[in-house]
Point group: C2
Chain length 149, copies 2
């Protein structure tokens, strides 16, 4: 956290005093070209407010967990899987990911997808799909074509 | 809350399935031309994620409280008071309002100011400034010129 009350946006998806991190430790889960920034994180807020940016052609991890995601796209275009639904998303669209719902975000091939993602400060770790889970997901051709496990 | 996992942005500061409310009950506190929308609110998230829009020339209430605000400007331009600091703000700027810090948002005269505001789901009620508080705030000419109590 910065000690400054006001931190200016200095470019698209960049803020003064906000560090850019790896999305996850390399090799810990499948993903491609994703960065993570923590915009607000303090215990009395109850939540962590993060910004993720998926590079053009990149994707977040296909995963699920007990905790909820509240997402707003901030910039760019892409698509997401939520449960068995695959949908195009663009600026300011809202995505709610309920507990134990499979989800994955992909940026378009032409531009990055940047999105805000809110989570409870206390949360469980994501779970990756098993071979059986993937078989179930791939039963739907639309989902099969979308996912990058 | 909408039961839909994905709710599209349908216009600047407007979303499908998200109702536009009065900022506060009329007459309960001083403000001018502000609307409130709740984007996400569920107990397991820990936070409420709201969007406020201050019309051109309008202002939110000058107030303070124990709970924290985490703010990101989404659209338009304006300025805010945070403690004794008055600062211009624009798209994607981040504002953190610590406990018991006086704060107020004003839109520019030319365009509305829309901002995301995150709060703990469990929070106290705002307190308005007393005559003594206002005297203290007005000791700083910059603050005196800005506030609309």
């Amino acid at each position: 956290m910065s000690g400054k009350a006001i931190r200016q946006a200095i470019d698209a998806g960049r803020w003064e005093g906000v560090e850019i991190h790896a999305y996850k430790p390399e090799g810990s889960a499948p993903f491609r070209d994703v960065t993570r920034q923590v915009l607000f994180s303090r215990p009395d807020l109850g939540c962590d407010w993060r910004y993720f940016e998926v590079g053009a052609g990149g994707h977040s991890t296909l995963e699920r967990h007990a905790h909820v995601h509240a997402v707003m796209v901030l910039r760019g275009r892409g698509a997401c899987l939520v449960g068995s639904e695959v949908r195009a998303v663009g600026p300011h669209d809202l995505v709610e990911i309920a507990p134990w719902t499979w989800h994955q975000f992909r940026a378009s091939e032409a531009e990055p997808l940047g999105f805000l993602c809110l989570v409870n400060a206390e949360r469980d770790r994501p779970v990756l799909p098993s071979a059986d889970d993937l078989k179930g997901l791939r039963a739907d051709p639309k989902v099969a074509a979308f996912i990058r496990p």
